[in-house]
Each structure stands twice: as C-alpha cells, then as structure tokens.
Symmetry: D2
C-alpha cells in the first residue's frame, strides 16, 4: 500500500536486462557511443522531429534546469504556476542553472497555467522597463503537479500567448507518458505541434532508475545545452547506461504500458474514494490524487500500513473529523490488489 511517490518502486526488469546487455566491450564515453546515438534517433522518430536535439541526464531537476538555462538570460524571468516543481521542489536549482534568472508565479486553473493570467503577467512585467526582470520564457508541467491534465487546446492556448510575446515554452514532462496515454495523442501532438519548444521527457518516475531525455526542437539550441550540461557536472562518462535504460523504456511500448498501468491503478483508487464518499481536490487525470480525508481515517489507514504524505505536514493531534489533504501517487508497479487492500480500509 505504497502511495507516497512514483520514485520509490522498483524499475522494470527489462531495464536491468538492458543494462546487462549494454555491458560489454569498450565504447566511447560521453554520449559518443552507438547505443546512445541509436536511442537518440529513436526519440527523434518518436517525436516526428528529425532535426530535434536529444540529450540524456539523470535527474528531472537537471533536465528542467538545463533546459530552462538554454532559454533565458540571467536578467529575465520564467512564468510558471505557484505549484510548479521548479518553484517548489528543486531547491533553487533552476535559478542557479539560469545564472540568476527568476520565476514569476502566474495564476492557475486546477494547477494549469491560465492563459489570460499569463498574458496579463507578461504585460505587467513589461511596464517596468530596465528595472524589472525581463520576460524570458514560459513553463508548464504535463501531467501537472496536482495530477491534472492539459488538453492539447489548453497547451496551445498557453504557447500562443507565450509566442505572441516572443517567449519560448518549456514543458516539464516528469510524468510525460502518464499525460500522453491519458490524452491518447502522439508525442508530437503534445509538444511541438502544440507550441512546446523544449520538453523534459521523464523516465525516472515511470520505471527507470534515473534517466530523462531533454528534447530540444530547435537544433540551434542544442550545442549550448551540451556545454551547460558538462558545466553542470551532469555529463555522464558512461553514457551507454543511460541510453540502455531509455532504449528498454521504448522497446515494445513498455513506457506506454507502464504509464497506463499507473493511471489505471490510480483511477481504480479514485473510484474507490468516490464510492466511499470522498471527493478529490482536483480532477484525477493521471496517476496522482489529492484528497482531503478526516484525521481519524488517516490514522486508521496509516496504522493499516498505507504509506502516503499529507500536504501540510504530520498528522498531529487535532480533532478526529478535521479534514487533512493527502497526496496519493501510484507507480507503474503497484498491484491493483494493493489498492483493493487499501480501499477495504476506507
């Protein structure tokens, strides 16, 4: 009954096998090996983006921070939501990698950046002349940090506002595949066809040990990424072990299957909550549920062995019926039986 995160379960067994298969002979380091080149080519094909530049890094924060750093200057600012991972969960890393560029928080609708608020924020920023940080880029997260999903039209609405203002758009796709299978569209449709300029295509939260692919649709930005990655100490010498993982991820639709599994388990959990009369705080559209439950129920669930986290800190000693928001995340490997076991305690 582990719902605390999608980074705590095992990786798929085929990932281990792929590492083993890659573990033979001498190959050039630093991404110059044939396996890396092959997996990069597969990703370009997958995105229907033959000119895109694809690079691997080992953490989602590195993917986001390096991607943004190629898009903005130190005197600029990135527009994102208040719950953006880059704002809340990366301990200033994006700001560090951007050389001191800052983040501007824009109102959201169910964790999705509101296009009208974005337009107003960009305009307001423009009234301060040299004194204010200059508009630099726009950032969205798909699946959002609250588990909601941008439709393709919603992505387009954001990127249109950005592009009218001359700003590129980065997508934090830590849960890219969870969103993709929920929308049932192609990677191209969810990214460059909807106006996304750079995407962090996450593997770590969907069954890999620690690999993210940064896909840069404008190849002119690619060289800078490489210098920044090396300077950020994120260039792996033994690159084949990153590529091998991502190769296994793409083989036989494993990535899609794992995300479908996580989403389905989550939907089952959400249905169970609903049947028990508990409504989620946000629409459940991927593999995350935010939901308020009474303290007494939390106590019972945790005592039964359920592992998950509360939004605002420890359970504490308040009234039994006080509602406390919690986050439930299902990873690819979570057995549906575990969900049923959990729901039995509701």
């Amino acid at each position: 009954m582990f719902f605390a995160s999608d980074n705590a379960g095992p990786v798929h067994a085929s990932v281990i096998r792929a590492l083993e298969a890659a573990n033979t002979g001498y190959v050039p380091g630093y991404g110059n090996d044939a396996l890396t080149h092959d997996v990069q080519a597969r990703i370009r094909a997958l995105f229907d983006a033959p000119d895109a530049v694809v690079h691997f890094v080992a953490t989602g924060t590195a993917a986001n921070s390096l991607a943004l750093a190629t898009l903005v200057q130190p005197w600029q600012t990135v527009f994102c939501t208040a719950m953006a991972h880059i704002q809340e969960d990366e301990c200033n890393a994006p700001v560090a990698f951007m050389g001191g560029a800052t983040l501007r928080l824009v109102d959201d609708v169910q964790a999705k950046l509101d296009p009208a608020a974005l337009r107003a924020a960009i305009a307001a920023q423009g009234t301060r002349g040299i004194h204010g940080a200059q508009p630099g880029a726009v950032q969205i997260t798909q699946l959002t940090e609250k588990g909601t999903l941008y439709t393709l039209d919603e992505i387009k609405a954001v990127t249109d506002v950005a592009h009218v203002a001359g700003l590129p758009v980065h997508m934090d796709g830590a849960r890219f595949t969870n969103a993709l299978v929920a929308l049932g569209c192609s990677p191209a449709e969810m990214t460059w066809k909807a106006g996304i300029d750079v995407v962090s295509f996450g593997g770590t939260k969907n069954g890999l040990m620690g690999v993210e692919a940064v896909v840069i649709f404008d190849p002119a930005r690619g060289q800078e990424f490489e210098y920044r990655r090396k300077r950020g100490a994120h260039l792996f010498s033994k690159h084949r072990y990153l590529a091998a993982q991502f190769g296994a991820f793409l083989d036989d639709d494993l990535w899609l299957d794992m995300a479908r599994s996580a989403n389905a388990t989550t939907a089952h959990l959400a249905a169970g909550f609903a049947a028990a009369g508990h409504a989620p705080a946000y629409p459940v559209e991927g593999n995350i549920i935010f939901i308020a439950l009474p303290r007494a129920l939390h106590r019972k669930l945790m005592a039964a062995g359920a592992v998950y986290s509360l939004t605002h800190g420890p359970l504490g000693d308040g009234p039994d019926d006080e509602l406390l928001e919690a986050r439930f995340v299902c990873d690819w490997s979570l057995p549906i039986a575990q969900v049923d076991a959990f729901l039995a305690h509701l």
Copy 2:
C-alpha cells in the same frame, strides 16, 4: 510640477560644497581615509550602535543586494512582499548577489508584510524538506514602496516572527529618513531596537548624488560584506567622495530637514487631492501618493506640465472617466508653490 520620482531633483548645495572641501591632498583609497572613518563613526553614534559595521555603496540596489547576500545562502529564500523593490525593481540583482537564493512573496497589508502570513509562509516552506528552498531571511521596506509606514510595533511584529524562526531581517531604507521623521523616533528605535539586523540607510532619494550606508548591527557579518562589495565591483577607490556626501547629509540635521520637506509637500498634495474629492489608494504617510484619477483629468494635468507616472503603462485612448492609478512622489527640493500650481489644475 515634477512628481515622477525622488531621484530626479538636484542634490542639496551643501553636498557640492562638501565634495569641494574633501577635494584636497592625497588620502588612502578604498575607504581607508580619515573622512570615511569619521562619517562611519558618526553613523554608529547616530544609531547608538558602537559595534555596528557601516559601509558605503553608491546605489540602493547595491545596498540591498549586498546586505541580503551576507544574510542568506544560495539554497535559501528571502520572504518579502510582492511589491518589494528587491522583487519588482532590481532586475534580479538581489538574486544574482545572493548566488541564486530566491524570493518568496508574502501577503501584505497596505504594502506592509503581514506577520501572520509570514509565519504561515515560513512554516509552509519548512514542509518540503531538502526539496524546497530553505528559509533564509526576511525583508521589509520602510517607507514602503506604496508610501505607507510601519509603526515600531509593526516592525517588531515582523521581526519577532522572523527571529522565532531563526531568520535575520533586512530593512530596505531607501526612504529611511522619510519614515523616521514620520514616526518621530530615533534610528535605533526604528532598527535594532525593533529587531532589524541590517539596514540600507538611503541617501540617494533624499538629496545625495548616489550614496547609501549599509549598517550591519552584528559586526561578525561585516568582513563578508567587504569581500562581497569588492567582488560586486562596488568598492569605490576614491571613497572620500561618498563619505563627504554622507557627512554633509548628517550635518546640521540636513537629512531630517530634507525628509521633512518632502513629507510636508506630499501631505499638502494629498490634502489637495482630498479637497478635490480624490482618495489615495494607500494611507499617505511619507512622500509617496498612489491615487486613481479619471483619464480626462490625467490628460489635463499632463498637458499642464505635470510629470508623473501611471502604474499600468501609458495613458492610452480609453474612456475619459476611466480611473487610472498614478504615483506621485515629492522630493526634498520640490517647492510648495509647484504643488499649489498643480492643485490649481485639479
């Protein structure tokens, strides 16, 4: 009829005379001259803080940025209001000088940081563990950017919350003296006795060419400031010309007289607005007024030669009766007759 800023008028004539007086013979550079030492000692005495460290820089942004940099680490965050000068008007400079530490915006009451909101913000920040930026410092502006004034109790309420959380507090005193004469208290009362750890004591907006004194009450922080100032390219070789200005500022209560003049002129202007039926957006407590006036009236005033700025950009072509907020600032040198001439157009 110049109300656009308090950095656009002339400096006091005695400032020029002081520069002339200081302009003789050879003296050691970089702040090691007798005049600099003397003015530093006068400031320590003025603040009743014999152990304080006092350093001069030439811009308010430098004073704020360097002061904050001595208080926080790159993985931390500074709590301030959404209209804080460090957030809105310094083009990411504080973030740059802090090595990538960020700002967290806290709700305000009439541009003053709300202690309860601050407490909640610090607590919320503490729930993210290693993933969130760590609480680093608190920052307030006195006189605020909207022209309101913290009472001594209000300062204390903020610094109490900060200190309970182990955070130091910086005061942006770009308009320190305007606030001081409004409160009628001593520099010590408005700073360290109210819990302020470091203050930017501004001269530039109150009649100097470009000098701010950073007063650091804990001398242990002083050496770091010096290294950071040099590394920030803000160490003047010919320091005597900074010290001379500040010396003239303090002579014969000139600083207090200039601030009183600015505040009085502003009060006269505010009274005129009130008499004409226009209410300010914030209490007028120093030398700044924010006030919404109909477009037609703006047009008339500007045509008559009044110079001031609108909050949200140019006047534009909208309806005559649409209310547009404007900012009026009076500097020390503004003749009351100018205000009367302006009011005649209301």
Copy 3:
C-alpha cells in the same frame, strides 16, 4: 587494445547483479533507504571515520564541484596544479558550483603540488588585501592526472602548508583505489590521517556505472553538502541504485581487485615500452602512462587497432620521427593478452 580511458570499459558483472538484487519493493527516496544507509556506514568504517558524512553522486565532476563548494566562499580561490582535472577537464563546473570562486595554479613536481610553491602562492595571494581573491582551499588529485602517486609524506607536506594557512584540503580521488593499492595503505592513512578534509572517492573509473562517494570528515560540513547537491540537481530520487553499485564495489574487496588489475596491466604495458626503448614522461605509478613515441609508430599502432589519444591533438602529417606524446590508460577489465598483442606491434 583499448587504452583511451578507464571510463569506456564495462562495469563488473557483480554491479549488475547488485542492481538486480536492490530492485525489489518500495523504499524511501533521496537517500533515505536502508541500503544507502548501510553502504554509507560501511564507507565510514572503511575510513575508520565514524563521524564522517558520506554522500553519493553520479559524476566525478559533481563530487569535486560540490565538495569544493562546501569549502570555499565566492570571493576565495582554490590552489591546485595546472593539470588538475578541476582546471582542465570540468568546463568551469567547480567555479560554477563555488559561486564564482576561482582556481590558482601552483607549480607541480611530476603533477604533484609542490609544497614550497604552495606556501609561496598562498603568501603572495595574501599581499593584495581586499583586491585579490582570498585563499580558500587546496586541492590535490590522487592518483594524479599524469599517473603519478603522492606518498603519504607528500600528502602530509601539502596539507601541513594548507592547514598552517587555515585552508582545508580536498582530494580528487577519481582514481583513489588505484593510488591506494599502489601505496598499500589504508583509506584513513591516505586521507584524514594525512590531513585531507574531504575526499571524492571515485567508483566510476574503477568499474562502476557512475557513482562517487564524497567523504566529509568534519560532519559540520555535511548538511551544506546536501543542500548544495539538491540545488545542483544532483540528488537522485532512486538512491538505492547508487548505493547498490557502491556496495558491490566494496564486497569481497572487488574495488581493490579491480584497481590492482588495472595497475598491473599498466605496469606490464610500461615494462613493454621500456623493453622497446621508450621512456615514459612521468613515473608510472598507477594505471596511466604518458609517453612520447614517433609519429610513424603511432601510425602503425593505430592502424593495428590500438585506441588511445595524443596529448596535443590529431596525428597529422609531420615527420615520421617526430615524437608525439600519448596517454595510455588501462581499466580494470583490460585483458593482459590485449597488452601483449599491443606490445607485439612495438
């Protein structure tokens, strides 16, 4: 006949098996799992340093950059040799992580920092007052970038000079184990007992996929490292896969065996060069040989399939007998038969 690097061969099979063994069930992320704690404890025991703080990162550049960042301030400078990896091969990463602290190059003796030159460099730096970067730390590499080995006395001579000046010392141990088995001493003897304050204990160049352990002997510095690692985007969520590799490394003296193998192969190669009348540029004391060979011989060796790199760029079209320096590195997995095959072409 692959001599280009020790980051191009396979990892030991037991590393793959350890990943597989670790790949079961849910465990807390970010280094809070039992396996990580266990391997950290083993490393502390290995170093006879019960209070040391041990953290894992995935690249050597990250280990060095983060370690140094905890030791120096942005206005300081780190003393190292001109061939230091942090100077030559990390694309400004250490400077970036240190927030702009710089490197000062000190004369070496066979790639080892010269204590007398270090003393002079520190003293010279101290004559510039506030204008020069302040002395911050000292850095050495063991095994050195040229394949030479500090004796314990030589390490002590450097750290003594540093400590007299109040400076901590970092050891880049990318090839820590190659040096350790060459000296035949304990990890404690080669580090804290010889005055080292922080060491990057490398696994990647000695048979792991990408893991380095940073060992910080003063626990007071440990918390900062964690914040800096997260902020540097180097905190892995699925930490167990780093720990598992390092655990396998330490099991049954695998780390020592792999390093001994690499050193022995290298010694065999060096003997072959000597027998053929070619003298190395530096004493061969670990797993690296720098040696000048005639262009014609290079041409022949490369044609035969030997892979290695020249110090000063491509082979080019110069005279056959021009001596061109090359670097030969043997990794743990290189079969001695490959060396013999190579030597047959000499």
Copy 4:
C-alpha cells in the same frame, strides 16, 4: 611625495564645477537625461564611432566585469596575462559577472600579452572538446599594469590572433589616456582600428571621482550591457553626475592634459632613478614605475615621507642591501617639485 596610486589624489577643480553646473532642476533618471546623451555623443565622436554604444559606470572593476560579461558565456574562458587587473585585483568580480566563465593566463612580454603564446593557448584549449572551458574572449590592458605600452602594431597582433579564432577583444583602459598620449594616436586608432571590440575608457585614475565609460563598438551588444548593468546594481539613478564628470574631463582637452602631466612627472622620476643608477624592472612608458631598490634606501625614503608600496609586502628586517621591488605611480596632480624633493633623497 605620494606615489602609492593614481586614485588617491584630488579630482580636478573643473570636475566639481561641472557637478555644480549640472545640479539644477529635474531631469529624468537612469541615463535618460540630456546631459548624459550629450556626453555619450561626444565620446562616440571622439572615437569616430557613430554607431558605438557608450555607457557609464562608477568603478573600473564594474566597467571590466560588465564589458567581459557581454562577450562570453559561462562555459567559456578569457585569455589574459598573469598580472591582468581582472586576474589580480578584482577579487573574482569578472568571474562573478560572467556567470562563472574563467580566466586563462597567457605568457606576456613586459606585461603585454604575447601573440604567439596566445595563439598556442587558444589552440591548446581547443583540444579538450566539451571537457575544457571553451575559448571566449581576449583581454589586454593599455597602459599595462606594469606601466608598459602596447604599440598599435602590438595591439593589432593580439587582436588578429583573437579574431582568427573568432574571439572578441576587450581593452581595460583604466589608464587609457596615459597610453593614448604616450602613443600620440587617436582613440579610434588605439581601439577599433586596431581590432578592439569593447574598451573600458577610464576616468577615475585620471582625475575624476569615479566614472568609467564603456565603449562598445558593435551596437548589437549594447542592450545586453544595460540589462547586465542594472542587474549588477551599477545603474545610477542620478546619471547626470556621472555624465557631468566625464563632460568636464573632455572639455578643453583636460583629459589629455592630466594624462600628459602624470606621464611627464613619471618620466622625470624615472630619469632621476636612472641618474642615481637605479634601473626600472619594465620600460617606463606611462605613469607607473616598478623598480628594485635596496632595503636601506627604502627605509630612508619612507622615513623622509615618501608613500609608495612594495610588491611583495612590508619592508621587514632583512639585509640593508637586499633589493626590494616597489611601485611608483604619479597622478595628474602630483607637483614636479614633489618629485624633485623625493629625488633629493636618492
């Protein structure tokens, strides 16, 4: 008998008068005033560079740091001499402003960057691929830190090497005018006609309080400079007081007269040394002399009231006849009688 620095004497009286003249009425801030525009235009005319962008800052370190920051990226490196002011005397400021770009030291000939050594250094840097800092820019100082003078051909030789490699060249002209009058050429000839891309045209060391003009010959780089200046906290609100000083500087050839005076006084001093049998360490070509004198003579001179500094620290207690190098600098205001008084003690 003050020879310690050219930043310790008074400013020219006409500078004070210019400040007084500028001190009337309200003018727009931040460089948008008529006086600033006028002086900028005069500088463009002076350099015969109608498209150049000219900006004022208050310190030489700011001028250099901001100029370089517009020329390089954080993963690049700037080639300069080991005695460059940016390397020795700016406490890491250039590195900070460049976002972590580093400096590479190139051999000099009498403190002038050696073109052949530069070519070799650029080539060597290019052999490390992604691992080494990338070549970014070249920097020279005219007059050099040792008082020597690049001829126009020597400047051209350096900029040719740089431009062939695609690198822009910055000139630190803290003593620009001392060099200019020594060469007897025009500002255009000493800068863009000789291949200089950006120059720090110094006023502070030649009779101003604290003003440097950065002249950027490619206007495309100008906007970035403005953002960086603001973000560096170096944008003065009351810009007229910078412009007024520089205006006075240019009036009636005051700048040239002051530099000629400083150079002439220095030549007189050098002649006196020569007559007494003391040879300078470097050719004396501007207003700086480095010269080794016996300790006993230093003791006598200092006892007589001469103020100057030794290269390697305090006088100490060594042998009377030990030669200790000292630096003598003459500023614009130093009376020739002072030099004669000093020489009488030789």
